[in-house]
């Protein structure tokens, strides 16, 4: 508002302006209101609900029982299966994420070209990404089948005898991990490829003029300049992988002898099979806190000053 207008018609205009502005704000607020309601009720409220439920005896059938305070959290410390599930989840993430990122970076570099063959291979790698995790889990549990599976059939072609995969406590987790790497590789590959495209060609040209070979160019140009994208992929993949559920639910039910009992499956078990929503909520809260801590640490670790 320029001072001049205000001075000529002081009272009337200010009132009208005020009203019109309020009305505009009101209309504007209607635009964002549905989304705000959604996020409040379905994103933030569940966390508050879990916080509340974790302090009570609570089951879906019986409803709220006694107030137990922090008892669920104390019990958790003495719960060997909780620690086991954390260990299994951690092993899964530490096995999966680095292998997946290294392989997908290699594939991203290999398949960068415009040739149709490269495009075809890219589509092939991306097909598991769009396919539901349920279909993939069912397919792979059939492929891993100790008698009727495709993998054993193929191994027999090399003269290798039939193997048990999912029913062997030492192999079940690596088998699930392998499948998840296979499924998620295309996703990280596409993101890394977009990152590679963002690196200006002039950098490589300069390096070659200076006599650098491809390996040196990779270490001194590609990797440092890709750091931000790499960080993004590592953080998101860690958070996704930490919450793995469907393959465990479908392929192993947490077994054999808890070898694949990941934390989200353990939460599901408590809430829906053991009917103890209170303890399940406490477990959810701890998982949320852990995920937050892990992602903050990772962002710190990978923080980079390189800009281009």
């Amino acid at each position: 508002m320029s001072g001049v207008t205000v001075a000529t018609k002081p009272v009337g205009l200010w009132q009208r302006m005020g009203q019109r502005r309020t009305r505009n704000y009101l209309i504007a607020f209607l635009f964002i209101l549905p989304a705000l309601i959604n996020f409040t009720v379905f994103r933030y409220l569940p966390i508050l609900a879990a916080m509340q439920a974790s302090l009570w005896q609570y089951s879906l059938l019986g409803g709220f029982g006694d107030f137990v305070g922090l008892q669920h959290y104390v019990n958790m410390l003495d719960d060997p299966l909780f620690w086991k599930s954390l260990q299994v989840t951690g092993t899964f993430v530490i096995l999966k994420v680095p292998i997946q990122i290294v392989l997908s970076l290699a594939l991203a570099i290999l398949l960068q070209g415009e040739k149709w063959v490269a495009g075809f291979v890219r589509s092939a790698i991306f097909t598991p990404v769009v396919t539901s995790i349920m279909v993939i889990s069912i397919l792979w549990s059939m492929m891993y089948h100790s008698q009727l599976g495709l993998i054993n059939s193929m191994l027999s072609g090399f003269g290798i005898s039939r193997q048990a995969f999912l029913s062997d406590p030492n192999r079940a987790l690596p088998a699930v991990t392998l499948m998840m790497i296979w499924k998620d590789m295309g996703f990280s590959m596409i993101i890394l490829m977009a990152g590679l495209k963002g690196i200006p060609d002039t950098y490589y040209e300069a390096a070659i003029v200076d006599g650098a070979n491809r390996w040196q160019a990779f270490w001194h140009i590609t990797l440092p300049l890709l750091q931000r994208v790499l960080m993004f992929v590592v953080v998101t993949q860690t958070i996704f992988s930490f919450q793995v559920f469907v393959p465990v639910y479908t392929m192993t039910r947490g077994g054999p002898i808890d070898a694949t009992k990941v934390i989200v499956y353990y939460i599901y078990q408590y809430g829906f099979l053991f009917q103890d929503m209170g303890y399940a909520s406490a477990l959810s809260m701890v998982t949320l806190a852990l995920l937050l801590v892990v992602s903050v640490i990772q962002m710190r670790l990978f923080r980079t000053e390189v800009e281009y």
């Binding site: 569940p46 495709l150 491809r214 909520s281």
Partner: protein
């Protein structure tokens, strides 16, 4: 990076040498061979499970196991082609009816819910993005933080808490439970908002838009996001598993899982179910690949 350094190296080599068969040329030929071999192996690793699934769904139950050992092309390719597995699970054959199989219903539920979410999310996310990009409001920045922070809420780890909320609202066991939690998405709002910001405001104030810029929004933002959203909802398993108890409201992903927990598992029918549950999104992806990849990169890099 490969292409740039490669072309540069090639340019610096005198052409005359390349015409003769030199060790260098042989190496180069070998390199090409290795490259294509690598392509073939990678494609096979990623496609064989799908080929096995699709061809397996088109053969008789006994035939699937008959040719397992020794491994050969008959292990994968049917001798006798049949649609029986599909007729069974869709409840179109007498046996399917006897088993009470009704995948038509589950397919309908999945499609209905996915389309529902995509439509709602198009409306509400566009409104939300327009608010952030164009409308006046005090402390819009705080609201934006409120929206973006929801991206940090982990997904699978909050399914049980979300169920507590939906149950309290008495929405469980209904289509509402499958649609309502997803009608707005922070990722879509954010990417749409950035796109609205790129279109100069004067254009729509002067009302001289020839449709080009909004068509651009449609092509570059809405189609990719709608595709991702559709795939996301179609593929959901954990949420419908816990939110829906009624069999007739169940979605295809849960239905195919239920098939594998029965006392006798029919592999042919399981394959057929997996085909029905995955083919729609695979076809959508192959047909609209460009938009799809754009969507992934957009939500991936900007979000």
């Amino acid at each position: 990076m490969g292409t740039t350094s490669e072309t540069l190296v090639r340019e610096r080599r005198p052409l005359a040498i390349d015409r003769r068969v030199t060790p260098h040329l042989v190496m180069k030929g070998m390199g090409k061979l290795v490259e294509y071999l690598l392509y073939a192996i990678i494609s096979l690793v990623f496609l064989i499970p799908f080929v096995w699934m699709m061809l397996g769904s088109l053969r008789n139950e006994t035939e699937i196991f008959q040719y397992l050992y020794p491994f050969g092309w008959r292990t994968v390719v049917p001798v006798e082609w049949t649609l029986k597995n599909f007729l069974d699970i869709l409840g179109l054959s007498p046996e399917g009816k006897a088993f009470g199989l009704n995948f038509q219903r589950y397919l309908f539920n999945s499609a209905f819910v996915s389309f529902g979410v995509v439509c709602c999310s198009l409306i509400f996310n566009t409104l939300g993005a327009y608010f952030f990009a164009r409308l006046d409001f005090p402390r819009k920045d705080l609201l934006l933080i409120f929206v973006i922070a929801t991206m940090l809420v982990p997904f699978e780890a909050t399914m049980v808490p979300l169920y507590i909320v939906i149950r309290t609202l008495n929405l469980h066991d209904s289509y509402w439970a499958l649609i309502v939690p997803w009608y707005a998405s922070p990722f879509v709002i954010f990417s749409l908002m950035q796109f609205f910001k790129e279109i100069p405001k004067e254009l729509d104030e002067a009302a001289i838009i020839d449709g080009a810029s909004y068509l651009g929004v449609l092509r570059h933002v809405i189609v990719p996001n709608a595709l991702l959203e559709f795939q996301f909802i179609w593929n959901l398993f954990y949420w419908p598993l816990i939110a829906i108890g009624k069999k007739e409201l169940q979605v295809i992903q849960v239905a195919i899982q239920m098939q594998t927990t029965q006392t006798q598992i029919y592999w042919g029918r399981t394959f057929a179910g997996a085909v029905l549950a995955s083919l729609p999104v695979i076809i959508l992806f192959l047909a609209l690949q460009r938009f799809y990849i754009k969507g992934v990169v957009m939500t991936g890099l900007k979000g």
